[in-house]
Amino acid sequence: MHEFRPLTYQLDNTALIYQALVSKKESHFFRIAINLHKPVVIEHLQEALLRTLPRYPIFRTSLKRGLFWSYLEENFHYPRIQKDSQLAMGHNILRKHAYPFRLVVYGNRIALETTHLIVDGRSASQFLQTILCEYVALHGTLLTEDKNIIRAHTPFEEEEIADAYKSLLVVHHALPKPKKRSGQAFREPHRNKHPFGVNLIQYRLPLDKTMSLAKSYGVSVTVLLTAFYIASYQDRMFLLPPEHRFRRPIRVNNPVDLRQFFPSKSLRNFIGFISHEIDPRLGIFSFKEILEQVHHTMKRDLIDKHFHSFIGQNLRSEHIPFVAFIPLFMKRMILKRIHAKSMKQETSVLSNLGKFYLPEDVANYVRDVEFIPAPKYINKRDCSVVSFKNTLTLSISRTCLPNELEQFLYERLKEAELNPIVNSFHGYQD
C-alpha cells in the first residue's frame, strides 16, 4: 500500500539561526495586531483562517528536528484560534502538530504572532491581510479584486515558497566578504525580568505631522524615527555611572525588505540590514548630527550591492561540507553562540513595516494596526513601526523592568511637537 508522506521544506538562511534559538520557553515571535471597530465574531474568523491557510503552504507547517538539520513538515492539524491571554509572545512550537504561528483574539483585536522561522514581517502582514479580507467577506461585504492583496482563491505560484536568497545568488563564491564590525556596541545594562516577561510601550503619532517633520529635515520617516531612537539611547547613557557612561558606540539596525531591489514573489524571509552608528566617546552628538549620520548611512547603504556581500557570506557558511556532518544539537550550540555574538554587536533594531495596506472596504472595519517586535534576550529592547490611515504606531518591547529610554523618547517626541499618545498596555485586561 502506498504510504502518505507529507511534504517537507528546507529552512532558509535566516531561519537557520532561529531554529537554533527556539526552545520550549523561547519562541521569538513577533506580533502584528489589528484593532477592529467592532468585537470579533469568532466563527467568521475561524472560517477565514481555514480558508486562508491552504493558500499559504509555508504557514501550514510544523518544525521538525532531524539528526543533522531542522526542517518544516506539512501540518494538517486543525488550526485553532486562541485567547489572547498575555504578551508572552509565543508558545511551544516544538510540540507535535504545533503551527509556527498563532492567531490570538481578545475583544476587538486580532493578533497574528509568528516567527522568522517561516516568514518576515512583510509576508506575515500579507497573511493577515488575507485573513482579514476573508473575515470581512464572510460578514457579507462584497470585495472587489485588488492586485496588492492575495485572496484565498488567488492562484498559488511556485515561487512563493522558494528560498529567495538561494535563487538570488548563484555565484556567491566569487563575492567579497563584508567589512567586519568594530567590536561590541552599547546594550541596556539592566537585567532581564525574572520570571521572564515582556513589557510594552507604544507611541501613537499623527502620520501627517510626522511626515511633514521628516520633509522639513529632508529625510524619510524611517530615518527620522531612527534618529529619535538613537538620540534617546544617547540620553539614556547619561544615567550610567561616570566610569561606564560612554564606553561603547550606539549601533541601531534597520531591516530592509530586499524585494524592492531584487523582485521576488517569495513569501519567506528576504531581509537585509543597514547599520547606523554613532560613537559618543568622540563627543555628544546633537540631534541634527545624528539625523545627518543616519540619513547619509541610509543613502550610502540602500543599494543592492551592499546586501550582496552579507548574503554571499551567509550562504557560503551554509555550504561548507564539514558543517553538514555536525549533529544538530552541536550546530544549535554553535549557532546560539554566533547569534549571541552578533547581538552584542548591535544596540537595538528599529524595523519599519511601512504603511499597512488594506482595501478601502476592509479598512473601514479597522481602527488601527500594531506591530510588536519579538523580545530580545541580550539587547533587552527592540522597536518597530507601522502606519495605518493617519496613525503611526511605534512599539518598543523590552524584557527588563526599568523604562528610562522610553521616557527620553517620549520627551524627544514631545519636544518635536508630535504629541504622542503613550500606551503601556496591550495584553489582557480583566
Partner: protein, 254 residues
C-alpha cells in the same frame, strides 16, 4: 448571537454553550443587549505618561539587594565553615584542633555553592552540581588529610547512593509521559536504594545490617509489582491531571 464576557468576542451560533477560546459557560442574554456598548469603556486608550509610574527611575543598585547578597554570603560562609570545621575536628578526635586549610577550603566551597544557587536557582542541574561540588570537597579534604578518609568511607555513598536516587526520580517525573503506577514503583526503588546506601555508610561502607536488607527486599517486591501492573498488565493510571485539579482547587480557596 451571544458573546463571551471574558474574551469579549461575539459567537454567532445560539447552540454553543461554551466559549471556544476560554471554555467559559455562555449566558444567552436578551437581544436588546449590545456587546459593542457593553465593551465601549475598554476601547479608550490608557495614557501611560499621565501615570507617575511611567516616570519612575529605579535605583541602579537597591540597598535591599545588596544587604540580601551580603547576608546570604555571610550566612552560607559562616554556617558551612563552622559545620565542616566542627565535624572534621570531631571526627579527627580533637575538638580544639583547627587546621588552617579547612576554613579556606570551606569558604571556597560555600562561595561555589552560593554561585550555583544564585545562577541556577535550585534547578535539577543545580542540585547535581551541588552534589558533585560536595563530593569533590570531601575528596579534597581526604587528599590533604590522609587520616580522615571521609569520602571513601561514607561521604560518597551518602551523596550518590542516598540523594542520587531522588534526583533520578525527579528526572523521571519530568520526562516520563505517563506518570501513573510506574512512578510509585520508582519511588519505592529510590527509597530502598537510599536506605541501603545510608545503612552501608553508617557501617563504614562494608557491612549491611538486617533492617535495610529487609526494607530493600520488601520495597523491591512492591516496586516490581507496580512495574508489572504498569508495563505488562498495562493498567495505565495518570496522576498528573488529578494532581493538577487538586492544585487548582487549592488556588480557588486562596
Amino acid at each position: 448571537m451571544t458573546y463571551c464576557r471574558r474574551c469579549r468576542i461575539i459567537i454567532n451560533s445560539e447552540s454553543t454553550t461554551h466559549c471556544p477560546l476560554c471554555d467559559q459557560i455562555l449566558i444567552h442574554h436578551d437581544s436588546s443587549e449590545n456587546p459593542e456598548t457593553l465593551f465601549y469603556e475598554w476601547g479608550n486608550l490608557k495614557k501611560a505618561h499621565e501615570h507617575p509610574s511611567f516616570w519612575h527611575i529605579p535605583m541602579p543598585i537597591s540597598s535591599k539587594k545588596v544587604i540580601n547578597t551580603i547576608f546570604d554570603f555571610l550566612m552560607m560562609g559562616a554556617f558551612s565553615a563552622i559545620l565542616i570545621v566542627l565535624t572534621v575536628s570531631i571526627y579527627a578526635g580533637n575538638p580544639y584542633h583547627l587546621d588552617i586549610y579547612i576554613p579556606i577550603v570551606s569558604l571556597f566551597y560555600s562561595i561555589v555553592m552560593l554561585a550555583i544557587i544564585r545562577f541556577y536557582r535550585f534547578s535539577l542541574g543545580a542540585q547535581w552540581l551541588m552534589l558533585l561540588n560536595t563530593a569533590l570537597f570531601l575528596i579534597g579534604i581526604d587528599l590533604k588529610n590522609k587520616v580522615i578518609e571521609w569520602s571513601t568511607s561514607s561521604g560518597l555513598l551518602i551523596i550518590f547512593g542516598g540523594v542520587g536516587p531522588f534526583l533520578i526520580l525527579q528526572i523521571l517525573w519530568r520526562y516520563l509521559k505517563i506518570k501513573g503506577l510506574n512512578m510509585i514503583a520508582f519511588i519505592f526503588l529510590a527509597i530502598s536504594i537510599a536506605l541501603l546506601s545510608l545503612d552501608a555508610s553508617l557501617n563504614g561502607g562494608v557491612r549491611l545490617q538486617g533492617w535495610s536488607l529487609f526494607t530493600f527486599s520488601t520495597l523491591l517486591f512492591f516496586a516490581l509489582l507496580f512495574l508489572h501492573l504498569h508495563y505488562i498488565a498495562k493498567i495505565r493510571v495518570n496522576f498528573v491531571p488529578i494532581l493538577q485539579t487538586k492544585r487548582d482547587k487549592g488556588k480557588d480557596k486562596l
